[in-house]
Symmetry: D2
Subunit: 294 residues, 4 copies
């Protein structure tokens, strides 16, 4: 019997842990769950047949999954669990973490004979609920091969490189999300000032070469509707774009557009608040153009 | 019998004129064609049943289509044709033109009782050949209603606003094409320097929130293959992004990312040449990062 | 006897006209003044011995000086004065105008045998009052030679090129003012967040390689004091930076930093108001960093 | 008798150590010198009365000065010297180092009862030779008070905040150097394309509001002359601008212009080489504008 532990039952983690628990149940395995707020873990256990665990108990699992806000929270649980870890376990960190943290954490875990995989996910809460997340994995391929059958929340799993590469790809993806969102917002603000019908403009762009996930989905569903549903916080997007900046710095690369947008997202976060949906960053564009996007 | 004239048989115009000529043939109409280099017009006439015309002859058509490099070339033919225009004709300019030029040209044509529609297209040479172009139209809706049945090259026709709005939307669309292309190039250059597998990274991004037409189509097909097939010139993309800058200026808008990318595209054009495919702009990113995208 | 006309008695124009009137008086010449609000012209006449004139009367002067908000206002007075102009007169436009407007206006005036010089000034209201302005002149050198003895408000006069060159240099200078102001504001905001003493930091920067007029004068006198005295409006600085963008576009140049800052200044104008002092643009930086500059 | 050690006899360090040695000689103190390439230390000793030392010997000094390329080299010597340090010594690091490294190094030295001051300098090789450098100091004020009489190479000493603040101010200063240099280069490139006389334009700007150290000194002396004398390497400026980016990240600030320029400088470094003078960054602007700055 294999034991899984899943730490972090947030908007993404909870449905991911549910898929894991179903998978475990179907194959006769156990699933331990841990959450900073224990009531969430208790609710998960009672609904999905997982078991509430302390960090020390979770540390004894064969496969440890983490899905936490940032690498700093992973450090915290890792430090608490370090003395209790089981040799030859695999730690799969689905946090949108920091590549430099991954390297450090992998080293720390290696001392306990545990293998670290950075395995952030993409697909949002909808993808998590459907069990169709894209998982981008950095680290040892044989550890990934061992973990692969248990990534029950995944639609697509891609090994992208050595330790930290998963976080790097995720940071760049989210920076590109930020760029497409922001630039499309700029374009629409200018068109709005020119008296162009924005729904028609967006319809054309989405049938043309300038289209992106932001133009096809986010802006029509969240911005033009003025709903800005808070499913992915602007503070987290700004953090991710910042990780892309850190990554650029660490390899001495040159990415002026990613850098500019990361700065603007951070600025927008100060204006509309870190907890607002990431699409609300466009409210700063609206202010700077005196033009509502509707 | 209705007479069409099509001016400008370039990579986009030639297949568009072919669809128009087929449509005309099927409905008992005539199609006149004109091209700066007459041999192209003669070839078109012999292959597709159109008729070679002088500018004076083309000026007598009921529907005049132009598909030229920039608004400057439209000005040239318009000035030459002005004395010969037929009242109540409709001029459909499919050039990726300038909104300010549209307003001026519409005024000039109104004096001859001709209605101007700015009607740029999107979809590339493939879309033109398939007759599935997206057409974004600015100007008088009733003139568009009259022209609509004859837009034989169109898959989607969208009225986006008053005169110049079509060009404005096209400029913004192409600026967004530039932004997504450039920013994705930056992201991949940084990932490449970090040792990440770029094909795997792109595969993940294209299943995630940072995807765009550039990441899904242009970069895998044209950049990673190192082919850079010259179908849409960088000089024209830089021109279009520049029109978006002009548009921003004319409405006193604020679009820092579009402005930055327009400047970088212009710079890239100086480095790799105006005639190179637009995707070759990423060669400047490669140089600035000492990292090939492959 | 030579007749001067000075049009536009604003914060800059009024003291400039005063120096001109003194010069005229000393040499037995006449000075006509015109202002949109006539009371200002009347006050100037009674205080400085100039004579209030209509546009038609001013048009008969040998040297016509304009100092208006933008080239659009120059167009207005020029159109009104055109029928009355004296052949072989020289028109010296001290407006921070647009290079393209200069070329057009010079052509229009040439038809009346009047020579146009674009001659914007730098030095602020203090320089105007002291008669120590820097004048950057584009256009015919012999017309400048004729006008030179009468530039009574000038400390330094520099011929920088053909028609429009004066406006071009002024636009670039003001764009650089915007860049240094904005970038220094960013740097101080970041240092402030890091707990650094901003007065000490600025003192060091002003003894080091990163210093500029903005760091040496504007920020210590206007920003750190929280006074933001409204002597040069942000709306005008944003307009000037925009002219630098237009200039870049007209020569198909690549200036990503000037373009970015022009966009940010325009955005700041929407946030703090066009009438605020240009240094108040830094309030947007403060908001985006949640950090006051004091 | 007080013993000084000076480590790092490069273009800046050598003349700084000379001033220190003179000061020591005048007051009956000793000066030890160390350099990675020992011949430089031997030459210094024979010329200036200092004494060549090993790292272990230098570690016994009362005041240890370091002036090395980056914080990484400081880490190396610090690690080697750690076992030999004298309690209550003061370590004055004049490197253009990293604020985060300062905090770490200060902690490491505190364990040996040694106080770390980050004390980077500004003024270039000319200022170093003249003994008129500006020193910006972060860390314990009483340690600075003890060291202050021995900063024989300083014209101005400013305490700017706690540990790391000196490096932070230096990084921001150099980022501003980069911004002013780059933006002025852009402006001149555009003016050059417009046919404006660049020497005249610069003369005007330097009498106007857009002036900076870059426009007043660097560009006329190094760029327009086409000399680009290699006194301050572009690779080091790009590194410093990158430290400003890291600083911005560490405080979650928003500095879009500093970020863009840091990226462009890094890109320019790839094009013209890290060893070129920092002013040679403008060669990338020249290429992107097809316009030489002369």
């Amino acid at each position: 019997m294999t034991t899984f532990a899943f730490l972090g039952l947030g908007a993404m983690g909870a449905p991911m842990a549910t898929h894991l628990a179903k998978h475990a149940h179907a194959h006769g395995h156990r699933t331990l769950v841990w959450n900073r707020t224990t009531t969430k873990a208790e609710a998960h256990a009672s609904e999905h047949g997982s078991e509430v665990a302390t960090l020390a108990q979770a540390a004894r699992a064969d496969f440890i999954f983490t899905c936490l806000p940032t690498s700093a929270e992973v450090d915290e649980v890792l430090n608490a669990m370090q003395p209790h870890l089981r040799p030859r376990a695999v730690w799969i960190d689905c946090t949108s973490g920091h590549p430099a943290a991954a390297v450090r954490q992998a080293g720390q875990l290696a001392a306990a004979d545990v293998t670290f995989l950075d395995a952030p996910v993409s697909g949002g809460t909808a993808g998590a609920q459907a069990g169709r997340l894209t998982v981008m994995v950095g680290g040892d391929p044989s550890a990934l091969a061992a973990a692969r059958p248990h990534l029950a929340f995944a639609g697509k799993v891609e090994h992208v490189g050595r330790t930290g590469a998963g976080f790097a790809v995720k940071a760049v993806n989210n920076a590109l999300l930020g760029v497409t969102l922001w630039a499309t917002g700029e374009g629409l603000a200018v068109l709005g000032r020119a008296g162009v019908n924005l729904e028609a403009a967006l319809s054309v762009i989405n049938a043309s070469s300038g289209r992106s996930n932001a133009s096809e989905n986010l802006i029509p569903q969240r911005v033009l509707t003025r709903e800005f549903p808070p499913t992915f916080a602007l503070g987290l997007l700004a953090k991710d774009a910042g990780i892309a900046v850190d990554l650029t710095q660490s390899v001495q690369g040159s990415a002026p557009v990613l850098a500019q947008v990361a700065a603007l997202l951070r600025g927008a976060q100060r204006v509309v608040g870190a907890a607002a949906d990431h699409t609300a960053a466009l409210k700063l564009i609206e202010t700077m153009n005196d033009q509502e996007l509707r």
